[in-house]
Structures are given as structure tokens and as C-alpha cells.
Symmetry: C2
Subunit: 622 residues, 2 copies
């Protein structure tokens, strides 16, 4: 058992695949953590925009969250149907491609890839920011801690989906459990006090109102900010293939449980905030507390349970990046199957998952964390854009899907729901884009077309290669002429002998080329007769020809290249085979002691060569 | 005419060599600048140590310089004889090797290489330091200016020795001319005033004496510091080959002119300092002026001639690095001819010089300048060590040389002179080593054995390769069996077809190896009969064998390698030829779109392979 085996697990045989499939219990942490942790920042994102309304703001939060929940339910039904219609996974990308065409599919693909990379970066850095604000002495190490967590996530995920699920079940259930306890106990208090609960610790007073009425634009912004609570809902639909049979049912059940839990959490938090009169605080206030922190303090006070709850939230937040790790490789694999991304994304690593997707995600996430120094607050609006673009395309795709299913009972109702969803998520997308364009949404608006461009170039390349390489005809055995063999030779030694022996086997037409620089006193001619021609004549083999090229300017490689290319041109239809004797040294540094002309010649032959030139390496091991 | 041609000059044919040879006029700037500029800092180095004696110090400077000049004359005669005895160049290295053995030669080689690299670094940075102290606003750019000058020197030198000489004649004659004018006019003033000249500007007063008597140790230190004035005298002896015929005479004449000029400059400066009562100033004094600056001011005042003189000194100092560029490549070539350095140092570039020596010198000098930030004051003692080690070995070598020349008239006298020189330079070496050990001489004491160690390892490698590769016997044609040919094949396409066609030409024993991963739905078997075997049978060729290797863990390269190595082991005495079909893409980035298994296989075959495995690249150009 090697170190690699301990770290990443033993290799799994392809036939072990079935054992790697997961059930609902593992599915929730793997695909649900991103969605569930939205409860920790979604309601607060909406409430922050209501701060200018002062205490009046609390009256608006429940209706806003309710509207979001209606949209969430629509999106939920849409993805439930997607899972059933596309059990091969791929989510929005597949739905958009199948129903709206390749272009829409690419748009969804780009949106989702950006979404997942940002999910990973934002998740990790949100968790670490929460940690460093609790323990300020760690402030200087933000980036390092982010990268350590990223590495751990990558390693855990490279161990395979089963191990990942097992690792994250506990933090997920702690997160959900503590929040449900806060909501449950809070609701009970509200009930027994007839709607007027007495907080254990009084929440900070609301800000003084600066705005009297909720304008439409503010309402829209509040709504779209709160929609951050919906991100992550698409995750299950991308990963259907990870579930055990009956695959579709298990995936749907997982999604249902995730969304139901999310609804309870979101509604609970909104409703309890109103009941306890909790408003959001300006994030840069010196005594800033999150809404969850204020609520938990109001219900339970600052006891051990408060710290348990806050700890669970922090833990779950940094692990929410894991959803990206679960889905990104599956997404890139699906895109790569359509030739839009390098084919390595379809290869399965030692633990049966698409390891190159994990590498790519880790690399890009690390890049973003490093560029932004681990402080990714500004990226939050960007990643909502990716998610909502995917939502909209997926819903629109489902509308077309239902259009085609003429036989399906109730398809008009389905179409109406998905159509409404598409319009609602589309409007949200627009509002986020406009509201946050200056703050960074322009970056996403720039990245999406770039990514699409790259994918199209990749596709074009693969199509060309396929067209050129495909061979439907049987082996063609006409024109099987022996090749012209060229052996560059500087002097007569063992390796030249080895090359010559190989050349004599290969062809009857051998040209030994000696480039003679004015610098050298003697050429090959002296030894040619005695050491080479005599034994060959004795065996009645075909005589090789010695070609001596004078070099006035001491160049060796160029005259050789010229000779090879000339010979090739003078013999159209003939194959030209160049035998290159190559010294293989024992230590890398020994290469510095030998001229690298053979390497240069190899490179030039590859660059300037063509179909008719073949290079044979004759290695000589020291 | 390309950009390269404009920058470095057109390539010179080997037959143009004669035209590239230089005469005395070009030889002086090329090989003499280092020696001549020693006048700018040698006397001052000695006088600085006399500061504690106050005004009494001026009485000691003339005797000390006279002693140095006697040593210089001895060294001069020694090198004059070296030039005659070894017209092939190589100086101390050659003399030591021929007379004292390889070990002593290596010691001289290491000393000289370090000396030249430090000469280049110290020369450039001394000039730049003088410039930045005149124009303090350039202070932040010291390193950049150093590197720019280094680059210019490298380019000029790469244009060949003739162009270099032409470029540096003017600065050299300006430097010598202005200093001679100062000395001449000063001497005239002393003469007409009967030994009591009135300075135009009175020199700064001498420091208050803190020491009464000149102790032996202080005298030795003063003497050895002043010996910095002798560095550079060995330069001509290394570069004899650069001169036109009669080579020896021209080189000797160049050396004579250089040394004679140097003697006049050194004695003149010392004598004039005494006459004008000039003492050195502490280098870190706020009103610091160099001895040359004080002298020039005393003789000419602060007029335009003062600035012309100082400008010439500055210019010549920074160009003195050029001597290193002239000699280092010749030295490394001589060492490399004895197999102690990589053979590239013997190759002549487009302008007939040993370009790799120029590259190496430029690289190491840049490294030193960067490490020390362009401030190389501390390196001055280090490089005197290299020079004096070379002097001592060269003189000692000449003693042995005369010992062997039993017939030579006056050899006893020669032996005595060289023996005396060896002892004197040896003592100086010891004094410098002890006095400056703490200041950095330990670094040289450490570098010299390291370099010797490297050279010995290089020699060992070349000796082994030579022994292994040398083939004095004629071509051996026994056991000319056809190789076993292995073709890895993933699927049937055009490139597989090309490989197979080549393989059929090569041998009757062909094994097509298909590694079948459980992931793939179908193998090669389906197409094998129809597309491959049928046409081959029709032509009555030898049938290849299809070997399908199942891969449960989706590995491709490892099972292939195992198969190749097993086959090779099972067939002792047979050559095994592996045909590797390789896709050649048009743009480098397209490589990312294709798996690099062929490259990996090639690398593994090179690393794990042996004499009997030959790799054939079958390129397919897209």
C-alpha cells in the first residue's frame, strides 16, 4: 500500500462501479450542501436591502421570501421533471442542448462552469471569513487557510463519491439540526406568548428609516438579492448518474428532501425575524452580527448552543464548496462527450470519477482565491448570474420539451409552470445583471462568451481531426516500397554501428550523411571503405552511399535538414526514414555535456516534416 | 538581412578566420583594458591602508609602488616567455597543466574562471557606482544599468573580436591620454618649481596620524592591496590565437605596450601624489574623493579637463569587463579541449568565436550582479585571489619549464626570475587570503575546490563515454535478425494504417497490441478480420498478431509497458521495435486536446528501455 493509496484510496476496478453509487442519505450532503447553506445568507441578502426602511422593513420580509419560495417550488418541479426526462445527468446543459439547440447548450455550459468555480471559491472563502472574524489573529492567513481547505476538498473528492458523502453527512445534519432547533424553539415561544415572544437577548435596534415606501425597483432588488437563496438547486440534476438504482427515484427523493428542508429553513428564518423584530445590520458596522446570529441569541441566548449553531454554520459554509466538486467533473464530462472540451474530462481516474474535472476545478478555484487574496465577497453577485442563467435556460428548455410531448397528459399545465418559471428567473437574472453590473457582473458577462468561444474552437478541432483520421476502408497495401533511409553520422562509433545495422534491415537504399565542418580535420571517408563497405560487400548486402556535405559556416543541423527535405522532394511518393542515434545518459545533468543536436533535429523534423518522413530513435544507453 | 544579422553581424565562414585576426592596436583595448584600468584603483588601494600614518604615509607610497612594479616586471617577463612557449594560448592554465600536472592545471583553471567572472562583475559595477555617485538620481537603477552594460558588452563581443577591438580603441586611448596628460603636466610643474609645486586646488588635509611606525604586517597588507594594480596582466597570454601573424611577436608587443603604459601610470600617480602631498581619503567619508580626482584637481583645477578625465576613467572602468569577455571563452575552450568542461565550449558561433563561453560568462556575471544588487565592492579582494593564484601557478610552471629546457642559454637566470616571481606572488596571495578571509575570500576558497570537483566529474563522464562508444572494429554484420515489431493500437484509423504499413515493411513478426479498458464498449476484434487480416492474406504477407490486453483499472500505458518489457525479456537477443503513431498538431495549444499517452510511453521506454528496444515515431500531420 503506497502513500498515494492511503491518500486517495486504492484504485477501483471499472466493475466496482455499482458499489460506488450512493443513496439519498449520502446524496443530501454531496449535492445539497450548496443549496441548504443558502439559508445562511439568502434571507440576510434580502433583509440588508430593507435596512433603509427601518423597523418597517420587517413587515416586508415574509412576503418577499414567500415570493422567492414560490419561484423555488417552480424551479424544483422543473428540475424534478428534468431528472426524469434526462436520467443520464447533465441538468441545464443537457436540457438546453436537447431542446434549444447547441448554442443555448453552450450558454448553459459556460454559465454552469462559472457558477461552479465561483461556488467553490465563494463557499470556501465565506467559511474562512467567518472563521477569521471570530478569531482575528488568523486574519493574515486567510489565503493559506482557503487553499488548505481547497486541497482537503480536492483530496476527499478524489477518493470518490462514496467517501465524500460519508465525510460530509455529519456537518450537514448538524447544520440543518441546529437551525431547525432555533426555528422550532422560536416558533414555540411565539405560540405560547400569543405572538409576542420575549427575546433572551434583545436584538440590536433597527436603523433609523431613511426611506418611507418600498419602491418597485427596491422591491425587485430585494427579491433578486434574496434569490441567492435558490442557488444550488440545480446540483442534483447534474449528478443523477451518481445515484444507485432506481436512479431517477433516488435523485428525485434527494432533491425533494433538500428543497423541503430549504423551504422550512428560509420561511422559518423570515417569519421568526418578523416575530422577534430582527432587522439586518450594515455589514461594515463595527458591532456587526449576522441575522442568524441575532436570531439565535434572541431565542437561546449566548450559551453553548449559540456557539454550536454558529460553528455548524461556519463548517457547512466552507464545505458547501463540495457541491461544485461533485457536479463540475460530471458537467465537464458531459460537455466533453459533445467534443466541446478536451477529451481528458471523460477519462475516469483510479476512484472511477472524472479526475481531470476535479483537477481543473481545483486549479481554477485556487487561481480565483489567489487573485482575490481569499476575499471573495464581491464574487457573490457574479455567481448568482451563472445559476440564474442556468435556471432560465433549463425552464425554457422544459417548455420546448413539453411542446414536443404531444401525448403527455397535463402538458399545458407543465408548460405554463415552466414558462412562468422561465420568465420569473429570467427577470431575476436581468435585475441582478443590471443591479450588479458595475460591481463585477460585467466580468461574468465577459467570461461567458469567452468560454463559449473556446468551446467552439475545441469542437472545430475535434471535428477536423475526426474527419481526417477516420478510416472506414480496409488496410491499403498498394505501393509498399521500401523507404529511403538516411543516417546522419558524425564519426564511426558503436552507436553509428547500431544505427547502420538497423538501417540495413530496413531498406536497400541507405544514405549515410556526414556534415563536414571546416573546423574538423578529418571526415568519415577514411574509415568508410575499411570499416563499413568491406564487411557489407563480404555479406553481399546493398551498399550504403556516403554523402559528405561541406559546411563552411560550421552549421550541422541546417545542412542536414536541407538535405533531408531535398531528398524527400526529389522522391515523391517515397517514404523517407531518418535514423537518429541518441545517447541516453544516466543522470539528467549529463545531458548538458552532450550537444543536443539530435533533439533539435527531431524537433525540426517534426515541425518541418510531413507524412512521408518517419523518425526512428536508436537509443544508446550509457 | 535579418534582425539577428544586424545585431550580431552576418555569419562568418570558417575560411574567413584570418581576416578576423587582430593587430596590436586592437589588442591593447581588448586584452589591456583590465590591466590599464588597474591604475585607477591600484595605487589608491595601497594608499588607503596608509591613511592611519597621516601625512607620513606619502613618504611610503613610492617605495611600495616601486616594489609592486618590480613584481610586475617579473610577471611580465614570465608571461612574455609563456606567450613564446605556448603560442596556442591558454596562459596560466596551459603552463600549469603542461609543467605541473593536471591537478595544478585545474587549480589554475578554477582560479582563472572565477577571476574572469569577477573581473566582469566588478568592472561593470565599479563603473556604474562611479556614475551613480556623480548622478545620485540614478541610484535606484544601479542594477538595471549594470545589466544593460553587460548586455551591450555581450552583444559587441558576440560580433567577433575585430568589431570589439574597433569599438573599444577610442575609450582606451582617451583613458590613457588624459591620465598621461595629468602626470606629464604635473611632472613639469614639479620640475619648474624645484619639487614644490603649487596645487591649483589644495588637496584635502591628511588624516591625523594614529599609528607612528609602519609595521611589517601593515606593509605587507599595503603591498598586497596595491597588487590589485597587477590584475589583468595575464590576459594577453590567454588570447594569443586572436592575433594575426606573426602571432607571438604581435602578442608580445601588445603585452609590452600594455605593461609599459601601466608602469608609467602607476609610478606617475604614486610619485605625483607624494609631490603634491596627496593622501587617500576614507571611502565612506561624506566628502570622499578618489586619489585620481584629487590629483587631477590639484594639477588642472575643476575645469572641463577635470570632467573629461573623470569621464574617461568611468568609461574605461565599465568597459574593463571586456577583457573577461575576450579571454573567458578562450579559457573555457582550452579546458573543454581537455574534456574538463562541456564540449559546447569548443564550438564556434556565427562570428567564429566560442559563443557558449560568452553566454556562460554573461549568465554568471548577471547572476553575481543580481545577487549583490550591482554593489560589488566586496568582491574586489576575491578577484585578486584568482589572479594571484594564476600568477603563482604560471611562474611555478615556468620554473619547471626552464628546468626541462636543459639546452636553453641563460635558463638559470630565467629560473631565478620566475622562481622569485612565484615566491613573491605566492606570498602576496597568502597575505590577501589571510587579510581578506573574513571579508569574502572564504568564498573563493570554497568556490575553487567546488569548480575543480565539477571539472573532474565532467572529465570522468567523457572518459567513460569515450571508452564505451569507441569502435575501432569494422561493422559487425552477424546476427542480423529482423526485429520484433510492436504497434500499440487504440482503434482502426488512418494513423494506425500508416503504422501498420511501416511495420509490415520492417518485419514478419508483428504484434498489434490493443489495451482494452472496461470503459470502452468495443475492442479492435470486430474490425481485425475484415479490415486488416483480409487484405494481408490477399497479398500473402506475414499475418500480424492481435494481442488484446484487458485493463480493469482503465490504465493504458502501464499494461503496454509491461507487455513490451515482458516480450523483450522473453526474446533475449532479439531487437524489439515499438512503432508509436503520433499526432502532430498545428498549434501548440491543440496538444491539450489530445491525450499525451504517446509522449508518456516514449519517455518510459527511454527510461526503462535498453539497448534492444528501438522506438519509431510515425507522425501524422493534421
Amino acid at each position: 500500500m503506497t502513500f498515494i493509496d492511503v491518500l486517495f484510496g486504492r484504485p477501483l476496478a471499472t466493475s466496482d462501479e455499482r458499489a460506488e453509487h450512493i443513496g439519498v442519505a449520502a446524496g443530501i450532503p454531496i449535492f445539497g450542501l450548496d443549496a441548504l447553506t443558502s439559508a445562511a445568507y439568502g434571507p440576510e441578502a434580502a433583509m440588508t436591502l430593507l435596512i433603509p426602511l427601518g423597523i418597517a422593513g420587517v413587515t416586508h420580509i415574509v412576503p418577499v421570501i414567500t415570493a422567492i419560495l414560490i419561484l423555488l417550488v417552480i424551479v424544483f418541479f422543473s428540475y424534478r421533471q428534468t431528472i426524469e426526462a434526462y436520467p443520464g445527468g447533465g441538468g441545464s446543459y443537457t436540457v438546453a442542448t436537447e431542446n434549444l439547440g447547441e448554442k443555448a447548450g453552450l450558454l448553459a455550459a459556460a454559465a454552469l462552469m462559472i457558477d461552479y468555480i465561483l461556488t467553490a471559491a465563494v463557499g470556501i472563502s465565506a467559511g474562512v471569513t467567518a472563521l477569521t472574524s471570530a478569531v482575528p489573529s488568523l486574519n493574515h492567513h486567510t489565503l493559506s487557510i482557503c487553499l488548505v481547505i481547497l486541497t482537503i476538498l480536492a483530496i476527499v473528492n478524489l477518493r470518490g463519491v462514496k467517501d465524500t458523502g460519508a465525510a460530509f453527512i455529519l456537518p450537514t445534519f448538524f447544520f440543518v439540526g441546529t437551525l431547525l432547533a432555533v426555528i422550532g424553539v422560536g416558533a414555540y415561544r411565539v405560540y405560547i406568548t400569543g405572538g409576542h415572544p420575549v427575546p433572551v437577548v434583545t436584538p440590536p435596534p433597527p436603523a433609523i428609516a431613511t426611506v418611507k415606501y418600498l419602491s418597485l425597483w427596491l422591491l425587485l432588488k430585494t427579491f433578486s438579492s434574496g434569490c441567492a437563496a435558490m442557488t444550488g438547486v440545480e446540483a442534483v440534476s447534474n449528478g443523477v448518474m451518481a445515484f444507485e438504482e432506481p436512479r431517477t427515484k433516488k435523485a428525485q427523493r434527494t432533491l425533494s428532501i433538500i428543497v423541503a428542508t430549504l423551504i422550512v429553513l428560509l420561511y422559518g428564518i423570515a417569519w421568526l425575524s418578523k416575530a422577534y423584530g430582527v432587522t439586518a445590520m450594515e455589514p461594515d458596522a463595527h458591532n456587526y452580527q449576522s441575522v442568524l446570529s441575532i436570531l439565535t441569541t434572541a431565542v437561546f441566548g449566548r450559551g453553548w448552543f449559540y456557539y454550536l449553531t454558529m460553528g455548524s454554520v461556519l463548517m457547512a459554509l466552507s464545505l458547501s464548496a463540495n457541491t461544485a466538486f461533485a457536479d463540475f467533473p460530471r458537467l465537464t464530462r458531459a460537455i466533453s462527450m459533445h467534443d466541446y472540451l478536451p477529451h481528458v474530462f471523460t477519462l475516469r481516474g483510479r476512484r472511477l470519477l472524472y479526475s481531470h474535472g476535479v483537477y481543473a476545478l481545483t486549479g481554477f478555484t485556487a487561481l480565483i482565491l489567489i487573485v482575490f487574496g481569499g476575499v471573495t465577497d464581491r464574487l457573490i453577485p457574479l455567481y448568482a448570474i451563472g445559476a440564474f442563467l442556468a435556471f432560465t435556460l433549463s425552464q425554457a428548455g422544459m417548455v420546448v420539451h413539453w411542446l414536443k410531448m404531444e401525448e403527455h397528459p397535463g402538458r399545458m399545465w407543465h408548460m405554463f409552470v415552466n414558462g412562468f418559471g422561465a420568465v420569473a428567473t429570467g427577470i431575476t437574472l436581468l435585475v441582478v445583471l443590471v443591479a450588479k453590473f458595475h460591481d463585477g457582473a460585467w466580468l461574468t458577462a465577459l467570461l461567458v462568451p469567452t468560454l463559449i468561444g473556446i468551446m467552439m474552437v475545441v469542437k472545430r478541432h475535434y471535428t477536423r481531426v475526426k474527419r481526417e483520421m477516420e478510416d472506414m476502408t480496409p488496410l491499403n497495401l498498394t505501393n509498399m516500397q521500401e523507404p529511403l533511409v538516411i543516417i546522419p553520422m558524425a564519426r564511426w562509433d558503436r552507436i553509428s554501428e547500431k544505427a547502420l545495422r538497423f538501417g540495413l534491415l530496413l531498406s536497400k537504399e541507405l544514405k549515410v550523411v556526414h556534415v563536414h565542418s571546416d573546423d574538423e580535420p578529418v571526415g568519415l571517408e577514411e574509415e568508410w571503405e575499411e570499416k563499413i563497405l568491406t564487411p557489407i560487400r563480404k555479406e553481399h548486402l546493398a551498399e550504403p552511399e556516403l554523402v559528405t556535405i561541406p559546411s563552411n559556416y560550421r552549421f550541422i543541423v541546417n545542412p542536414l535538414m536541407d538535405y533531408i527535405l531535398e531528398l524527400e522532394e526529389a522522391n515523391p511518393g517515397r517514404k523517407v526514414t531518418v535514423l537518429l542515434p541518441e545517447l541516453v545518459v544516466r543522470h539528467w545533468w549529463e545531458n548538458a555535456l552532450h550537444n543536443q543536436r539530435v533533439q533539435l533535429l527531431k524537433l525540426l523534423l517534426l515541425l518541418k516534416g510531413n507524412q512521408r518522413i518517419v523518425v526512428v530513435n536508436i537509443p544508446w544507453y550509457l
